[in-house]
């Protein structure tokens, strides 16, 4: 429960920060793909490399991966049936035979029904998740966050010494 709350707070903190919304949305999308993939495979490694190379919010990725892995666990039967359908498709057999006997490709474990199903679903939904994340983050920041900043409670809190100390700490070590 502690980890869950910690992750949740870190996500809220991230949303409330000045971090770019595209960076956070990309992080959420990467986390979505990571969370959907059942075990570590080549595609997971690829996502990690992307996280390091590109300016993607790593924290958002890990938080999203953490939450989406729960959803994925519940969706495993769906992934299995989607994956089985793809892997058993007659028209794709020759492609799979070729891929299976190619170098590197087998490390993706595409031949596993759940890996294939979750991979297909997550890569298909990734652009939607990205766009949806941008929209939601923007909306959150424009409405909820702004409204909260206008409350008397927040204004009072901002005048407090505790907040001043926090701002100072944030600017130095944040």
């Amino acid at each position: 429960m502690g980890i869950l709350l910690k992750q949740l707070f870190s996500l809220i903190r991230l949303l409330n920060s000045d971090t770019g919304h595209k960076s956070i949305a990309a992080g959420i999308t990467c986390g979505f793909i990571l969370g959907m993939t059942p075990n570590f495979s080549l595609q997971s490694a690829f996502i990690f490399v992307c996280l390091f190379i590109f300016r993607i919010q790593i924290g958002a990725a890990f938080v999203a991966a953490f939450f989406f892995s729960f959803i994925a666990w519940a969706l495993d039967p769906v992934f299995h049936s989607v994956g089985s359908t793809i892997l058993e498709a007659n028209s794709l057999q020759s492609l799979f035979v070729n891929l299976y006997n190619q170098p590197i490709i087998p490390f993706t474990r595409f031949y596993n029904s759940i890996v294939m199903g979750s991979g297909a679903v997550s890569f298909l939904l990734a652009p939607i998740i990205y766009v949806a994340s941008i929209v939601l983050i923007k909306k959150y920041r424009a409405t909820i966050l702004e409204r909260f900043k206008q409350t008397k409670l927040w204004k009072a809190f901002k005048l407090s010494v505790v907040y001043q100390w926090y701002r100072k700490y944030e600017s130095l070590y944040g």
């Binding site: 300016r55 892995s69 994925a72 666990w73 035979v97 170098p103 490709i105 031949y111 759940i114 600017s171």
Partner: protein
């Protein structure tokens, strides 16, 4: 308020500031691979092999080369779980050479590998750790089933049993503690009661029959009828009376005859039932003999009893290694497997295979060269052979796993070792076969029979052995041929005479043979064993044992069935006396009545004369009437 403002820097899409940390992490990984990876692999292998083998496995060094994809494992020692001071097998070097082409396809292919300098039964520097049965994985905890099955089929120490019987005291002791309900005893009691009731019934029935007084009355009446008379009417009256008397006597005779016949039937019935006591005594005796486990002098039983520990160990070893091989190979889908609800693990799914013709399976060691030569460093065996096609998918490559190894260990005087092991999992029903033979193997202190009354062991001998075993679909067939040459026996026992008989029998044999077979499933198999030891010992013991078995049987008979026998004899004589007395009495009376009947029958014969007499007097009367008419 917002005095403290952070300077906003426009950042690009690439995270250039992460280059250094990434390089640092990569550097750390490289350092780990160079300095710690081999050590960790060694530790992981030791842990895994120890749990698979069930006793400590030590590895001196592991060397990996990423560039050449080579793995070298040096100084591998497998502790012997029965004697942790020894290594059951030790390899100086195992080298594996993977190929890049396959590894890039996530397949682990070893075209050629080597196992060098094999040693067996070598003393360890310090005793190895043996895992507890509960810690042992998979195939290690399966021996109890086999042991129980063998125990059911063999009398564990038949030689000692024979000795116990030959002493003659065992039966007495066993009888004291034996709780056995004698069917014959109960039967005799019931029969006794029934016969007593029948006796009373017959006494009553015989008493109800006409007695001697009535016979006298018949005689008197007959005598009265036989008095002379010339009066025709009187004669006619007597004849009538005689006829009536005849009928009465006839009826009495009939009642005697019916009674006699019924009695005879009962006599026959109860005679048979009394004879039935013998059958029940026999059945009771057999039941008690079974309970007492009186051994039969069957050479096969003696062989089974004596060689029980040897066969047991061989079977347990065989089952252990079959289970070990099976645990690493794909299992056939079990039908009607009980569904157990367990928390679902993520990402299991179903793996699909898309093999190409002549493509690689997931794991395949094509060839393992086994070589070992005796040298000054302490290697004690000359071995040569090959293990081919170790794979996770034998169906795909279409070849079975075959291990063919030959050699000898001169220092240990082990010569002519040949092992051919075939593990064929190409079909749905897997089949494993083992052919093993050794021309000469020195045995020391081999215990053949261990009992408090008699213990036989072989101080030393040279064993020539041939074992062939097949396992398929949980069915086993094991054939064993052993010959112990130049044996040196030790016989210990309480009885000097018994020791002498056993020792002289054993010393007469130039070699001790032990041939056997096991057929069936692991849970239910037939064990067949024969040995010249069994037949020779049974010959020597035969007369002695026969006498003692007879003596024991007689003892049981007299002890348990003495009362039944006596009761039976008493019952028989009593019934005989009663039945013969009653029957002779009835017969005597019947004879008497016959005599009376005959006399009355003679009286009845007077009926014709009376008729004659009647017609003559009528004629006379007629003549008188005619004369009166003509006057």
């Amino acid at each position: 308020m917002d005095k403290i403002k952070t300077k906003k820097i426009k950042k690009g899409i690439f995270r250039f500031e992460a280059i250094l940390p990434t390089l640092f992490i990569l550097g750390l990984i490289c350092l780990y691979l160079v300095f710690f990876f081999d050590h960790n692999i060694r530790k992981a292998l030791e842990w895994g092999l120890t749990h698979a083998h069930g006793a400590e496995v030590n590895i001196a060094q592991v060397k990996t080369s990423v560039k050449d994809l080579k793995v070298g494992i040096y100084g591998v020692q497998f502790t012997y779980d029965r004697d942790p001071k020894l290594d059951v097998v030790r390899f100086d070097e195992i080298s594996l050479h993977f190929i890049w082409k396959a590894l890039l396809q996530a397949k682990y292919i070893v075209p050629d590998s080597n196992i060098k300098n094999i040693q067996t039964m070598v003393e360890r520097k310090k005793p190895g750790r043996v895992l507890k049965l509960s810690d042992k994985t998979g195939y290690r905890g399966i021996q109890s089933g086999v042991e129980n099955n063998i125990k059911e089929q063999v009398s564990e120490n038949i030689v000692s049993d024979l000795y116990q019987l030959s002493k003659g005291t065992d039966v007495d002791d066993q009888l004291k503690s034996l709780q056995y309900e004698l069917k014959s005893d109960q039967y005799v009691k019931n029969l006794e009661k029934e016969i007593k009731e029948k006796e009373e019934y017959w006494k009553k029935r015989i008493d109800q029959l006409p007695k001697k007084e009535e016979f006298k009355k018949y005689e008197q009446r007959a005598k009265a009828l036989s008095a002379k008379s010339k009066n025709g009417l009187e004669i006619a009256g007597r004849v009538k009376e005689a006829s009536k008397l005849y009928k009465e006597v006839q009826a009495t005779i009939q009642s005697y005859k019916t009674t006699s016949s019924d009695l005879k039937k009962d006599v026959s019935k109860y005679s048979n039932e009394i004879k039935g006591i013998d059958k029940l005594i026999k059945s009771d005796l057999q039941g008690i003999k079974n309970k007492l486990k009186i051994p039969s002098i069957n050479p096969s039983d003696i062989s089974k009893g004596v060689f029980f520990p040897i066969i047991q160990s061989k079977l347990v070893e065989f089952k252990r290694y079959i289970a070990m091989v099976q645990s690493y190979l794909p299992e056939k889908k079990k039908e009607n497997k009980e569904q157990v609800v367990v928390p679902r693990k993520r990402g299991r799914g179903k793996n699909y295979y898309f093999p190409k013709k002549n493509s690689y399976p997931k794991f395949w060691i094509k060839n393992v060269n086994v070589s070992s030569t005796v040298n000054e460093k302490g290697v004690n065996g000359n071995f040569a052979g090959k293990i081919t096609n170790i794979t996770n998918n034998p169906k795909h490559i279409g070849l079975p796993i075959i291990a063919d190894i030959k050699g000898d260990a001169p220092q240990q005087q082990v010569r002519g070792i040949q092992a051919l092991i075939t593990v064929d999992h190409r079909e749905d029903i897997p089949k494993e076969t083992v052919e093993f033979s050794v021309d000469s193997f020195p045995t020391k202190n081999l215990v053949l029979s261990k009992g408090s009354d008699l213990a036989i062991s072989m101080a030393k001998s040279l064993l020539a052995s041939k074992i062939s075993a097949t396992h398929s679909n949980n069915n086993i067939q094991l054939n064993l041929k052993n010959e112990f040459k130049q044996p040196n026996y030790n016989v210990e026992g309480k009885s000097e005479s018994l020791k002498k008989v056993v020792l002289s029998t054993l010393n007469k044999m130039p070699a001790l043979t032990l041939n056997g077979s096991v057929k069936g499933t692991w849970k239910d198999f037939d064990l067949s064993l024969n040995s010249n030891f069994g037949s020779e010992l049974s010959k020597a013991f035969k007369q002695k044992i026969n006498d003692k078995v007879k003596e024991a049987e007689d003892k049981i008979k007299s002890k348990l069935f003495g009362s039944s026998e006596k009761a039976k004899e008493k019952l028989q004589s009593r019934f005989k006396k009663f039945s013969s007395g009653s029957l002779s009495d009835l017969k005597g009376k019947e004879g008497h009545l016959d005599k009376i009947k005959k006399e009355i029958s003679d009286l009845k014969n007077g009926k014709g004369a009376l008729k004659k007499l009647k017609s003559e007097s009528l004629k006379k009367e007629g003549k008188k009437l005619l004369k009166g008419l003509f006057k």
